[in-house]
């Protein structure tokens, strides 16, 4: 490490820094020192760092312009390795010991950048939108050009490693939310706090006070910064007020929903040692007070981007708040009184004010007089038309201007200086007020946009309204606080400030040369947008301000044009002979300042990304080596591999166990809806395709549910528990949608029907066991139900006791085998499963997962809604006309759609069985089906394979698929041309491959 360099620009006294706490940091490899209380920017300036980066397009040297959120130039690559953060502004980075930062661009370094040569030479050929005009031919070459362009673009770099930090989110609710803790915000919060309302006040800075922290004024006789400290501690002492520094309100959404980012540990180090690095606050406020202040504008003149040209107010802030004077000899260019304050501050710091160059012909007012009295040279009716220097300011060319500020009317002279402070007027921070769709309105007297009318419960106070007197800000704050809290207050602050002189609405300082030939006059520093570029855009027809923005990239940067936009709009307006009000502004959008992705994502990553739902038997599945499949949010056992098995071997073993003895499946995830009421039956008639009028208690029936468009959307078995009581099952993924659907129809169309629905999905654990030995297993555990084939038929259900537990036993089958489903309260599900495993041990009971279930059901030709159907299949398309009631009194949901011409076609795609010609082949699911594999592309596709498996019990591959007119094509051969070049032939057949007569499940 090199020794610390002296802080050449640091004042011996003053400022809100702690000189007893020195801190080392490195910038571009050099080590420097600053103090606690510094920002990285103030520390760099203290050390005389001039060039902090290179510009985007022309690679020009750039220095620090501002002191806060508005900063366009000082983008840093902060920290190293996986902790690195691209692009934070040095003006918003609090200094801590050991901080490392580098510039985000410039090669080999920001100081000596080779690209700038390119910028100088090629720059002339790079007007706005130049890339739209070239690199067109041949099209293929664009990818090559693009690579080069991409390499040159972008600022910071990202680490390839995962973010080591965690983020947090919290919901907050309050009566009054105050954004900004300058004088206006503090006063508002004090008033609201005193009313007892729940108040939240946030400020993006580390300390509350806003401009007060750098002010030389007094509030009710107290030094401004001290007043801010006192106000802050008063607020902190109120239990009903939440005080949040380092918190940026970055988005204002409808119905007074404000999102704010709190930086909890960024000021301490690169990673949070404990807890979370940042926390996002989701704030629902009854009333919102915006007290976000105003941002000073730079002026547009030749080479106005040179390091050493800074916002006037920022220079003052560095002096008063950080005890840093960023130059020795300063020229101040101003259009209003603010510049005089800076002149006084500079002089007060013992440095030279070369001149205050004021575009106004006859400036007056308190500050002007004070400056004159202090012996400061004032050049009224003049402007800095061009800055001189290459990597830093060496001089300012000053020339007399006409009264309108339109023309240079005399010879210029050069003032030698190393700092130019520019005061181009103020832009209220209207950003948040625009997020909810309100458009700002231009006010000539403010020479800026102020928030427009809003339908939100929104109040404004302070500089955001274009009111720039401190006393006004405080008083407006009190009034806004009172209005928002529903109280009144007569409190008046006295700051001894008088009215400010009228400022001149000047944006572009004229040059002796026309804009197109003058030295570059920058409007948007970050994106290298110049006045000439804007003028050119307008000339080329990009006359809407939105077009100008998009064509030139003005305001597109990470600063979102906080300093440049108004100047750009003014130039557009002038070019087109319009007023700024007519030209209008572009739209402000979230985020006010950039927000970490991780903080927006919050805790909802990793296993918290989405809930994983588990059944009661989940611990057993885990312990027994199950592989899982995601089905909706559920984790379902997919298969249960044993040591050394391939997946196919596992499936073969599992399937054969079911066919030959007994297998067991956790079917708890199926949706279950308990339906009670005397109209339950009629309700089923309406929502299902088939008839329910005759289903007797103790019986079950399969049903298909359609949307009104006639397409299948869910299916399942419903049991009649008693005459007025049914238990409906749904697909695992469809449960919530089906319940919502039933409620929809009941609550909106048929409220007169006496029926209630209750979800019982989680209440019941379901063990489904299938196979010729399944009855024997059950008989061991259940003695109070006659389970014989005669007494308990296929599609019957009984209540009984299984393993000592009161259970519902269903004789239903999705495998084609004799099969039972035992439903027990989920608390006992795991126990029941273990009992069944024990009871089945002698039969080699085999747990199986969803994959074997799919094979087994496919052998039987049973569909899986969502796999074999896709929202475009009717029951008839699935050859399930048998499940459609033809004589039902009520036209069930979806029925009417069957008779639409396209739905009624007989040659629609129908779901059929497919038997591969080569029995050893399993056609990949998703294969497309053609009749003639030798036809040229595009081929005439007949359908596709929806389900396909190896059937160990049949000894050949089986598949289901859709085929146009498939039901009339039984026996025909179809082909599946695959990506790997194979063409698989298959024969259309019935989808029921196994036990077509149903002997097995009827056993």
């Amino acid at each position: 490490m090199s020794p610390n360099l002296p802080q050449i620009n640091r004042l011996a006294t003053g400022g809100r820094i702690d000189r007893s706490k020195p801190m080392s940091f490195t910038f571009n490899g050099k080590t420097y020192q600053g103090f606690e209380g510094d920002t990285l920017a103030s520390a760099m300036l203290a050390n005389g760092v001039g060039v902090v980066g290179r510009s985007f397009k022309y690679s020009r040297a750039r220095g620090i312009l501002g002191h806060g959120a508005e900063e366009p130039n000082a983008l840093m690559q902060l920290h190293k390795g996986k902790e690195t953060i691209p692009n934070p502004r040095a003006t918003q980075v609090e200094l801590f010991d050991g901080l490392t930062a580098t510039s985000t661009n410039g090669w080999p370094s920001a100081e000596f950048d080779l690209m700038s040569l390119m910028g100088k030479i090629g720059g002339k050929m790079m007007p706005p939108g130049f890339y739209y005009k070239t690199f067109m031919a041949p099209q293929k070459m664009w990818m090559t050009y693009e690579k080069l362009i991409r390499k040159a673009a972008g600022f910071g770099k990202l680490s390839l490693e995962a973010d080591p930090d965690t983020y947090d989110k919290i919901n907050a609710h309050c009566d009054v939310m105050v954004v900004g803790a300058g004088p206006a915000g503090l006063a508002a919060a004090l008033e609201a706090g005193r009313s007892g309302k729940r108040v939240i006040i946030v400020d993006e800075q580390n300390e509350f006070g806003g401009t007060l922290l750098a002010s030389t004024q007094t509030v009710d006789g107290i030094d401004a910064a001290t007043w801010a400290e006192q106000a802050t501690s008063q607020l902190e002492g109120m239990a009903n007020v939440l005080v949040m520094p380092r918190t940026t309100a970055f988005g204002y959404y409808d119905h007074n929903f404000v999102v704010a980012l709190e930086r909890r540990t960024d000021h301490i180090g690169p990673v949070a040692k404990t807890g979370t690095r940042q926390r996002l606050h989701r704030i629902r406020a009854h009333q919102v007070i915006l007290a976000t202040g105003a941002i000073e504008r730079p002026l547009v003149f030749g080479n106005n981007d040179l390091p050493g040209i800074m916002l006037s107010n920022s220079v003052s802030t560095y002096i008063n708040r950080y005890a840093v004077v960023p130059g020795q000899r300063c020229v101040i260019m101003t259009t209003n009184d603010s510049g005089y304050q800076t002149a006084l501050d500079i002089q007060g710091a013992g440095r030279t004010v070369v001149a205050v160059v004021d575009s106004r012909q006859t400036p007056n007012g308190r500050l002007v007089e004070a400056a004159k009295a202090a012996g400061i040279q004032v050049m009224a009716g003049h402007g800095v038309i061009e800055a001189q220097g290459s990597k830093k300011v060496m001089g300012a060319i000053v020339a007399p201007l006409d009264e309108a500020g339109d023309k240079v009317i005399g010879a210029g002279k050069t003032l030698s200086c190393d700092l130019i402070a520019v005061a181009g007027g103020w832009s209220p921070v209207v950003h948040l007020s625009c997020h909810t769709g309100s458009r700002p309105v231009w006010k000539d007297d403010v020479a800026g946009f102020v928030p427009g009318p809003s339908i939100q419960n929104q109040h404004l106070a302070g500089a955001v309204t274009g009111e720039y007197l401190l006393s006004e800000a405080l008083n407006a704050g009190i009034q806004a606080g009172a209005t928002a809290s529903g109280t009144t207050s007569a409190q008046i602050f006295d700051c001894g400030d008088e009215s400010i002189g009228v400022s001149q609405a000047l944006y572009l300082v004229p040059h002796t040369k026309p804009i197109s030939r003058a030295p570059k006059q920058f409007v948007d520093f970050q994106n290298d947008v110049t006045a000439a570029g804007i003028e050119l855009a307008a000339r080329e027809g990009f006359q809407s301000i939105e077009h100008v923005k998009r064509y030139t990239a003005m305001g597109f940067g990470t600063d979102q044009g906080k300093t440049g936009n108004i100047n750009g709009m003014a130039i557009v307006a002038k070019t087109m002979n319009k007023s700024i009000a007519e030209t209008g502004t572009t739209i402000f959008r979230p985020a006010y300042t950039p927000v970490t992705f991780g903080a927006i994502g919050g805790r909802d990553v990793g296993e918290l990304l989405d809930p994983a739902r588990h059944t009661a038997m989940h611990p057993w599945h885990l312990a027994n080596g199950a592989e899982f499949e995601n089905v909706g949010q559920w984790k379902r056992p997919w298969y249960f591999p044993q040591a050394g098995e391939t997946m196919q071997q596992t499936l073969n073993r599992e399937c054969l166990a079911v066919r030959n003895s007994v297998g067991i499946l956790d079917a708890s995830t199926l949706g279950k809806i308990d339906i009670q009421g005397k109209d339950a039956r009629e309700f089923l008639n309406r929502v299902y395709t088939n008839a329910w009028s005759k289903l007797a208690p103790g019986k079950c029936r399969y049903g298909l549910m359609l949307k009104e468009d006639g397409m299948i959307f869910d299916d399942g078995v419903t049991a009649c528990l008693s005459d007025n009581h049914f238990l409906m099952t749904t697909t695992s993924g469809g449960a919530a949608a089906v319940l919502g659907w039933l409620e929809l129809w009941h609550q909106t169309e048929w409220p007169e029907m006496e029926v209630y629905f209750t979800s019982v999905t989680d209440q019941w654990a379901t063990c489904s066991f299938a196979g010729p030995n399944s009855r024997k297993v059950l008989e061991k555990l259940c003695t109070d139900v006659d389970l014989s084939a005669e007494a308990m038929k296929f599609m019957d259900w009984r209540e009984g006791t299984v393993a000592g537990i009161k259970a519902r036993i269903f004789r239903i089958s999705f495998t084609g085998e004799l099969s039972f489903e035992v439903n027990v309260p989920a608390d006992q599900g795991h126990y029941m499963w273990k009992k069944l495993m024990e009871a089945g041990e002698e039969f080699g009971i085999t747990p199986y997962g969803t994959e074997s279930m799919h094979v087994l059901r496919a052998e039987k030709g049973f569909i899986i809604a969502g796999q074999d159907t896709d929202g475009s299949m009717t029951p008839y398309d699935c050859l399930m006309g048998w499940a459609v009631g033809k004589t039902k009194e009520f036209s069930f949901l979806g029925e009417r759609s069957f008779s639409r011409p396209d739905t009624a076609r007989t040659d629609r795609k129908q779901l059929v069985g497919l038997k591969p010609k080569d029995p050893t082949v399993v056609i990949p699911e998703g294969a497309q089906i053609v009749m003639d594999p030798n036809q040229p592309i595009p081929m005439d596709m007949m359908g596709h394979v929806t389900s396909s498996y190896w059937s160990e019990c049949l000894g050949h591959g089986i598949a289901m698929g859709t085929v146009k007119g498939g039901s009339d094509r039984m026996g025909e051969t179809v082909y599946c041309p695959l990506a790997d070049g194979r063409v698989l032939a298959a024969q259309i057949c019935s989808p029921v491959f196994y036990d077509p007569k149903g002997d097995h499940h009827n056993d």
């Binding site: 692009n87 005009k133 770099k157």
Partner: protein
């Protein structure tokens, strides 16, 4: 129209760029046009361009209530691909992709069509089945596409989280190498400049407030710049189409919803292709400027506010951070919304209506940017011949009565 080229740039640099011609005129509307196109988005402008270029119909006005290309064209994540599922849709989008390939040269305007490839990730078994099905269908329709496994995905996007232990692991993807992105603004401007140069009047700040009919036939439109006559009026107004239809007492099978997108701060190149995931809901590519361009979801409610709810953005961000854990430290720069016009089957309407001379091209919803050239091309045919272009025929509004819907929810999803 003066030609753009590297040479012209050089030449103009010598005269300080003072002599560039306007990209388009700003004419006063005439009393009457052969065709009025309502909506100066990409689709409307492309329609005008092809009407003039292919069909020689140049007495055409494009009426735009705001600025050209300022609707969804200004707001989309610019993903271009054609790997849709059904024949009708994939053929239409592929027709468009074909036009994209030479569009910059055709328009003499670099639309920066960057064929960097598009991945559609699959996160569960059904996703993978759907991907297989779609890619097979694409292949047999002559559209390029392959199914990739996790390792192959990782090869294309090394920064992707390929862990199989995460909540929704990447199981694979479909990959369309000819897909990519284009510069959205340039597309609108290129078509505008091309159309203008052939005589089409582009009239901005001109809102159509009423469609005037006589005896069931269109005679013109009422606008904020007065009445403008035409016997053919084509509405290409995306999210605002329902409002247009209501002017003549029609309703459409469309609901307009906010769809959001966002960009990060610009960073050095880190991702060279387009990654889309319907399941976890995240779409990302990196623009030439360096910002990550990310598509968020649509809000469930109707909305014309061009802004949506924050929870949608939150949802997308957690998915993005899950797929790309290093993105967690990137910062969001700007988020915005568009108004998407979604049909029940996630497919567009390119159609005549029951009113003579009134046409609609809308319903592109969350995914019409990619179709811009194709849509304009087939719609121009429809307008010129008063009969649907064969590729457009299946997208008639009648399909909602006949039941011949083209359900692209799987492939179009909520996606782009």
């Amino acid at each position: 129209m003066k030609k753009y080229s590297g040479f012209s740039l050089f030449k103009h640099s010598l005269s300080h760029h003072e002599n560039w011609q306007a990209a388009w005129r700003s004419p006063q509307p005439k009393k009457e046009y052969d065709v009025i196109i309502v909506g100066g988005g990409g689709h409307g402008l492309a329609t005008a361009y092809y009407l003039a270029k292919v069909h020689g119909i140049t007495n055409v006005a494009v009426l735009e209530k705001g600025y050209l290309g300022g609707g969804n064209t200004a707001r989309n994540t610019t993903i271009v691909r054609s790997n849709y599922l059904w024949d009708e849709a994939s053929k239409l989008y592929d027709h468009s992709l074909d036009l994209w390939k030479d569009l910059s040269q055709d328009l003499n305007y670099n639309v920066m069509f960057s064929q960097r490839g598009v991945l559609n990730l699959g996160h569960n078994l059904q996703d993978m089945r759907d991907i297989e099905r779609r890619v097979n269908a694409n292949r047999l329709n002559g559209i390029d596409g392959v199914v990739l496994n996790t390792a192959e995905v990782k090869e294309i996007v090394p920064i992707i989280n390929d862990s199989q232990d995460i909540r929704y692991p990447v199981l694979g993807a479909s990959w369309q190498a000819t897909g990519g992105v284009a510069r959205h603004d340039a597309v609108a401007w290129g078509f505008a400049r091309g159309a203008d140069s052939m005589g089409v009047d582009l009239i901005q700040q001109c809102e159509v407030t009423d469609i005037v009919t006589e005896e069931g036939a269109v005679v013109g439109v009422q606008t904020t710049q007065g009445f403008i006559g035409s016997k053919k009026v084509a509405c290409v107004t995306a999210g605002n189409s329902g409002v247009m239809a209501a002017m003549v007492g029609l309703r459409l099978p469309i609901e307009s919803r906010p769809l959001q997108a966002l960009v990060s701060e610009p960073i050095k190149p880190i991702i060279n292709t387009v990654v889309m995931s319907n399941a976890v809901h995240a779409y990302v590519s990196q623009s030439d400027k360096g910002d990550l361009v990310i598509g968020a979801g649509a809000d469930a409610y109707n909305g014309y506010g061009q802004r949506g709810s924050f929870n949608v953005v939150e949802h997308t961000m957690s998915a993005i951070c899950e797929l790309f854990p290093m993105f967690s430290r990137v910062r969001m720069n700007r988020a915005w919304g568009g108004i998407v016009d979604t049909c029940p089957d996630a497919c567009p309407i390119i159609s005549k209506t029951s009113i003579k001379g009134l046409y609609f091209n809308c319903g592109w919803g969350t995914g019409g940017f990619k179709a811009t050239p194709g849509s304009g091309n087939v719609f121009a045919h429809t307008l010129a011949h008063d009969e649907a272009h064969p590729l457009a025929a299946p997208f008639s509004i009648d399909r909602f009565s006949t039941g011949h819907l083209i359900d692209e929810h799987g492939a179009a999803g909520v996606a782009h």
